[in-house]
């Protein structure tokens, strides 16, 4: 089974400052959720995700040649961010950079969600 990897980089302040100990959740269909924390550089270790074989992305008209995951980032004091439709290709490392916005403790925690549209080339 071919696989790609995903690495999440969490920063704040317009991507200037890395955030340590942000809780990352990676969800895929038919797999248990994967949870990890970012290190002092705001990075996770690369996480392997199953992906369709590379041959499927070489010609037009084939079914979707990537798998998708949903990435959620949580950290006290910041607004939670979610990215859906994150694409994982075989043999390739996907980098998902997320910048968190600080929130006041009194504000309710809303989830900012951005979706990547399907990409059929």
């Amino acid at each position: 089974m071919t696989a790609g990897t995903i690495l999440v980089a969490v920063t704040t302040s317009d991507a200037q400052i890395p955030i340590e100990d942000a809780e990352i959740t990676i969800e895929q269909s038919a797999q248990p959720d994967y949870r990890t924390l970012t290190d002092e550089s705001g990075l996770t270790l690369p996480f392997a995700v199953a992906a369709p074989p590379a041959s499927e992305s070489k010609n037009p008209g084939t079914p979707t040649p990537y798998s998708t995951v949903t990435v959620t980032v949580r950290r006290d004091g910041y607004e939670t961010e979610r990215r859906t439709g994150v694409q994982i290709f075989p043999g390739t490392q996907t980098r998902q950079r997320i910048s968190l916005m600080p929130v006041l403790p009194t504000m309710p925690d809303q989830i900012e969600s951005e979706a990547t549209p399907p990409q059929n080339l």
Binding site: L7, Y66, R83, V86, F89, T94, R97, I98, L121
Partner: protein, 120 residues
């Protein structure tokens, strides 16, 4: 007449819709724009030379928009849009790919021009 040389900007302002559409603008580092546009228009599993060719084309297109100040001269307050109907794809907040990121970093200062012209 002083020749103005094309330059690679630090940041680029992208309009998240058609030019006349009421949509937000985002200002992002130029290298991130290039990596994002490339990730949105090609697959990272393609041949190295195909990725390089596409990155050069995407870079040249964006640098042309900057060099000619295409949108500001028409009264808009952004440099480029994110729709292929007018410009090229850019999906705000999307993930990028390590191999394309590396190639973009290498080629961000390179563009294609016509013989006899300096414009990207």
């Amino acid at each position: 007449m002083v020749a103005i040389f094309p330059f690679v900007p630090e940041e680029i302002t992208v309009h998240l819709g058609a030019p006349n559409e009421d949509a937000p603008n985002v200002r992002v580092p130029y290298l991130y724009y290039l990596q994002n546009a490339a990730a949105s228009e090609i697959y990272p599993t393609w041949e190295l030379s195909a990725i390089r060719a596409n990155v050069l084309a995407i870079n040249s297109y964006a640098l042309n928009r900057i060099y000619t100040q295409y949108y500001p001269t028409r009264g808009y307050d952004f440099d480029i849009t994110n729709t292929t109907a007018y410009d090229q794809a850019f999906v705000n907040g999307r993930s990028t790919f390590e191999n394309i990121d590396r190639i973009a970093q290498e080629l961000v200062g390179t563009y294609i021009r016509r013989q006899g012209n300096i414009e990207p």
